[in-house]
Amino acid sequence: MAKQDVYLGRIETIGGHQLLSGWLSAKHPLRHMDLPLFTAALATAALGCIAIYSATRPSLLALGRDPNFYLKRQLAFLALAMVVFVISLLFDYRQLRGLAPLIYLAGIGLLVLVLSPIGHTTLGAQRWITVGILQIQPSEIMKLVLIVALSALWADKGANTGLGRVVLAVALAAVPAALIYLQPDLGTVLVLVFLAFSIVVVAGARLRWIGLLVALSAGVFVLVLHLGLLHDYQIKRLTAFLDQSSKSTAAYNLQQSRTAVASGGLTGKGLFRGTQTNLDYVPENHTDFIFTVVGEETGFAGSLLLIGLFSFLIWRALRIAMMSKDQFGARLAAGVGAMLAFQLFINVGMTIGIVPVVGIPLPFVSYGGSSLLTSFCAVGILMNIHMRRFI
């Protein structure tokens, strides 16, 4: 037994004293926490809090309000996120497989609620529902819901590669994508599409089906463009992306955000010293454009640190996917990794002009409870898989 424990890489004693963990069995989940993963997530969130404070303080002061308003709220969300994180460790993630249909239906239900008269409109998009004093953004939660639902779609053994599953996966992804598209929230739709792809790939779908999916998606995209299903503002953003030096408002916003990031230089202008940040030249810089604060005030070094933290989280997710005892866990973990990777790419990419502007938050960093809770819930699930990889 003891030999096996050593094989598992666990230390039982230090200087003859038995450690507390020694009381637990070698495969006990509590002995296999992925602390670096959690630390990186927390560090990213902390970085986000500083950026939020920097982004909101001057305009709050100018309005004569409490400069800590958004920081305090984000810290409260973070505390709540810790609770959610702990809860997501308490049960065996495999139970999610059975609950998946229920979770999926609940998620769809919430999305329908958003579009119902209960839904709450801000900045022209209907994305929120109000529960008590809290506003929830179900599209954020839906990303995680879809990961669970799609991961549960395939059995661990046997005939896993059929076309039927793929078609079902497309259907499962299409329903929430359509509902979210109606809000409208193109960014989240894109993330859903990407993570669905990633899970289908990991699930072992044959290459021909994957190729078919890519062709199908491209077809849908072209169709959407031609049928005029895009909103005016989306077309403007797309045009601004294609002609970034034009004089339109959308292009102006893009120019300002790019200027903010680029003017940060190697080491940045210093915390709270970003002129683009402090003087409101970048709109929404505490939510979707939070990266401009990091880019301007901490420069290339800070940007690299942030991207480094994300890369670490993504690597950790893929590592857990590989270490997972079952393929359900592997798909879950890969799905979370894909979610983080694409959100990072789209969010940072749109501020620096390599992706058209679509409004999605940067996980852990952007201001907003739904995003933060979802992100830590996702980390909790990763951790859950890591903890239970021997049982």
Partner: protein, 654 residues
Amino acid sequence: MKAMNQGADKVHLRIAVLGMVFLSLVVALVLRLWFLQVLSVDSFRKLADQNYVRVVPKLAARGRILDRNGQVLVDNRQSLVVTVDRGAVSTTDAKKKLHLTPKGTVTLNNLSQLLGVPVATLLDKLQTTQVGPLTPAPVATDVTKDQVVYLEEHQDLFPGVSYVQEPLRDYPNGSLAAHALGTVGIYPVATTSGASDANRYKAYSPGTVIGRGGIEYAYEKYLHGTDGFTKYQVDASGNVRGILGTQEPTPGDDVVTTIDKNIQTLAEASLADGLAKARTIYDKVSNKDYVAPAGGVVVMDPNNGQVIAMASSPTYDPTQFAVGITSAQYAAEFQNNPAQPLIDRVTQAQYPPGSTFKVVTAAAAMTEGFANPNGGFACPSQVRLYDQTFNNWQTFDSGTISLQQALIQSCDTVFYNFGQTFWQRFRAGQGEQLQAFARDFGLGSTTGLEIPGEQSGRVPDDAWLQSQHKANPKAFPYNIWLPGYTIQMAIGQGDLLVTPLQLAAAYGAIANNGTLYQPQLGMKVLDVSQTVTSVTPKVTRQVPVNPQAMSVIQEGLRSVAVQQPLGTAVGAFIGFPFDKVSVAAKTGTADINGKQPYAWFASYAPADHPQYVVVVMLEQAGHGGETAAPIARRILEGLFNLPATKIAPAARTD
């Protein structure tokens, strides 16, 4: 077991592929960030800085312009100016066009009622580009105290409306010396008149008051001072968030001119009076009274070129330019006004000099050696040269007279003969000697007076004729310099043109025995600490007239107003106290085809140690001795504190 392992390997492979995809995304981000933040940081930092720094100029008070005795000619006065913050009443579209907000419309209506100015005018002023978008736009100057008090007490009716005290150019003497002083305008809309220098306004902010002519333009760099600024930090909506730095303005220097306010006043009054009198004289040739629309007077110190007075009629009040003239007003009063009051008749208009030019011909003829200073010259009523008859203005034969006498009675026939000789010499290849002397006296080129727009006059010669013929063969059918040209030029006619200022400088050279000074209007500059920078006299050249010839000319000129009965200015100087002040003078009457005669009078006094040169020119106002000389007499009386006499037309002498 093996199958399962294969399955797991396959999953691992797929996860690894996914990992490669994610890695490539991250690499793309990092490369783009490297390009932006490390390789392109300089240009983007510039963009970011331009975003948030707004520099609002603090304009320096313009220096004053004083006369030679310290009397104020141009001052600044505080004017109450109503301004409107454009952000409070309007929005700007992408093309930077203003659109009044509903609230702004109400505000502007209220303001229109208070000031009695149409809303359209206010709106027009709001569109100004003369001040930056952050600076409130001035919409009305010189509003009353009562109106300002009302504004203060009813601020709720006028959101965004405010008022400031602004220095405006003030002219305590009205139109006095307007042409010499020049006007002011606002940079950059009102561009300069006269010479333009690309670097001249390089450091100027929009809204700056600049000199547009005269001394205001010439001494701009002293008068202007140094503008200060406030650097504001502004946010994306244009709200000021903080001040990054300020620099107080340094007021401009005072410029002391050579003008004597009292003499200037006298010169302008005498000119106006003389022109008015001329308009009452009946002219037999044209069968109507003299039109006498315009004229110019110069008073200059022959010992240094300082201009003591320069009067031009008609004149104008520069105040209207200082408070802001609308383009409609400008067109009506100036641009389309046939009297052209903006044109300075002393420096910006050129005329044939008539007989006043005979001093140059005499100096040239004697210096070139063919006219004996002590010789006798026939003065018949006409001469026949090259099959052409040239008439003297006097219809009787004066017999043989001296060169002095030829000047005193302005005998044309004597000078026709000189002209013939000059032409013969030109034909003989000895050069154009008369033209050369005219140029030596400063004719044919600008004198170099500081103020812009000066005309150069014209000394016609063979080369000039060739080019005119080439450019316009209809108007100039001959391409050979004919004898008649030089003969006419000898009495100051033909294509010869001078400005009154050029003639004053030339007579200054005769008065001081041959030094041609550059006329000047600036005497010194006083900066804030009263440190004086003096303008030193500038000698253009020594005129190469031989001394004997010079004294013959001077002797002749001092008898023009004295010698009874032939002196051409005697009539105008009856009763003048020559025992106290001797006057050297020459009359002139220039003929221009289809126009009434132009009257000239050039003089200096006292004749033996000259202090002043006085030149008078009247357009279409008769003969020199008749209408120009009485004006000069009145000015000379003032210059030497002699009892004043009334200006009255004298005998009709050329």
